[in-house]
Symmetry: C2
Subunit: 154 residues, 2 copies
């Protein structure tokens, strides 16, 4: 990745992008399982013109992201696998190329199906607030939906 020549193709092979490290989703906590992150665009020194970052997340079979909330919205496009997403008080199935819009403060959690990884792009503003774990009040509210209650992990 050259900073002075940022216009380029970053080639993909088996869900890895050349020169892009696959990182742990979060460095601590037990509120998620089997999640990795690759930041494809928007973090590099040569990419300060971008207002948004494009990241690829992959959730291992049976894994899940943390149940979180924040002010900044997410634009998500599913790329591989199947699963479910908790979107506030709803549980929705997701499949390749489905788009998920997560508005400000909507609690959300992605779950991969038991038999395949769930991979998705997630676009966020470069300048954004820090995610928070969903609070007890929110969890109590969304868990009134029994499908959400059965699926959520904290």
């Amino acid at each position: 990745m050259s900073d002075d020549r940022p216009t380029r193709v970053i080639r993909a092979r088996d869900w890895q992008w050349e020169g892009v490290p696959r990182r742990e989703y979060k460095t601590e906590g037990t509120h998620f399982r089997g999640v990795t992150r690759q930041t494809l665009l928007g973090e590099g020194a040569g990419e300060t013109a971008l207002d948004c970052e494009t990241r690829y997340f992959e959730v291992a079979p049976g894994g899940y992201t943390s149940l979180e909330q924040h002010r900044h919205p997410h634009s998500v496009v599913i790329l591989r696998g199947h699963g479910e997403v908790i979107l506030d008080d709803r549980l929705e199935p997701v499949a390749p190329h489905d788009v998920v819009y997560i508005g400000p403060w909507a609690a959300h959690q992605f779950h991969a199906a038991a038999d395949e990884p769930l991979g998705f792009l997630c676009v966020v503003s470069r300048d954004r607030d820090r995610p928070q774990l969903a609070d007890d009040e929110t969890v109590a509210r969304i868990a009134r939906n029994p499908d959400v209650a059965a699926r959520l992990r904290r």
Copy 2:
């Protein structure tokens, strides 16, 4: 699409997203061929929290986008098909999941292979300048590369 409940899944089926119109890429001109656009997120009244728009473009077999330049950058992820992209003075092959970063003012043009459509996501800032067709000086410069010269269409 409900404005007061924007958090949602927009389901994909055969490269069409539910409730999202497939529009002409541009309404006039002969400097492109066989291109459609679907704006997936970022245009809706309930989505003003998004700093960026996520659009899906599809180029018919043998088609191409206009050879253009602008200040705002593009974050592109190829979703289907194969083709080539002119990135300033280079011609690069592209395949599914390849990422293309197009920095400010880089001339660019996407070409689909002859036998299949080329589909890609393109993320841009909501607030952006208007694309311009590449000027004669730029075209003369990038066409010094014979591969670019053979491929470009105006």
